[in-house]
């Protein structure tokens, strides 16, 4: 038996509106408060800043920061009942790739300046540069995500 499908333009518009509404509910329920963007920026800039610390402290800080990053996603998943991968397919991937590239560039540059040139202050300056960029990228990611969900 062939399924009967309405091909009325008005029905199509109403169906799309209903899908858009459901997706908007998901976007609203998962909207990040400002502190969460700041926490994300703090954690990833912290990884850069940690290079300024002595080796043993560096590894301890790194462990704390990575546990913090994982905890941020685990808590979000448990509280909201939703998991959204930052590398999900779609327009948001460009934002993720851009901030990852910036992070890698800053990390490797500050690592080189500190270990090869002895500029221990470089990681701190790098972290100060990365923080606003990561904060902006986090906000931008959410804006792009919301726009994509509106179909």
């Amino acid at each position: 038996m062939t399924a009967q499908i309405d091909r009325e333009p008005m029905d199509a518009a109403a169906t799309l509106a209903a899908v858009r509404e459901s997706r908007t509910r998901i976007a609203d329920a998962n909207a990040c408060p400002p502190w969460r963007h700041a926490l994300f920026a703090t954690l990833i800039s912290g990884v850069v800043a940690a290079q300024a610390a002595p080796t043993r402290v560096f590894f301890a800080l790194l462990a704390v920061l990575f546990v913090g990053l994982i905890a941020m996603f685990v808590v979000q998943r448990a509280r909201k009942g939703v998991f959204i991968n930052g590398w999900r397919a779609g327009a948001t991937r460009g934002v993720s790739a851009a901030i990852f590239a910036v992070y890698m560039a800053i990390y490797t540059t500050t690592w080189f300046l500190k270990s090869e040139r002895g500029l221990w202050v470089a990681p701190l300056i790098g972290a100060a540069i990365l923080f606003p960029l990561a904060w902006y990228a986090s906000r931008r990611w959410m804006q792009v995500y919301r726009r994509e969900l509106a179909l």
Partner: protein
Amino acid sequence: MSGPAPALDPVIHAPARLQIAGVLAAVSEAEFAVVRDAVGVSDSVLSKHLSALSEAGYVRLRKATTGGRQRTWLSITGAGRRAFSAHVKALQALAGMASLPVAAE
């Protein structure tokens, strides 16, 4: 009439199923209750639609115990994502027809 009619997928054409696919296409994984609330249907209606979507290979269900409670996590498959995307495009094409001016006599 200009051009062929857009292809619509009967499996996800029901509004609730399209909404479920739309919600799951927006996330990596979502809990049963989250999808139920976003779509605005009862547990039994959602279960029924999920069975059909799962049977078609569009949705994946995973049971997990969290805090002593068993929860069902839902995610869309690659085939489901493609079907949703194609169906939305077809609906957009149809909806676009509504805004076309009526030809003058």
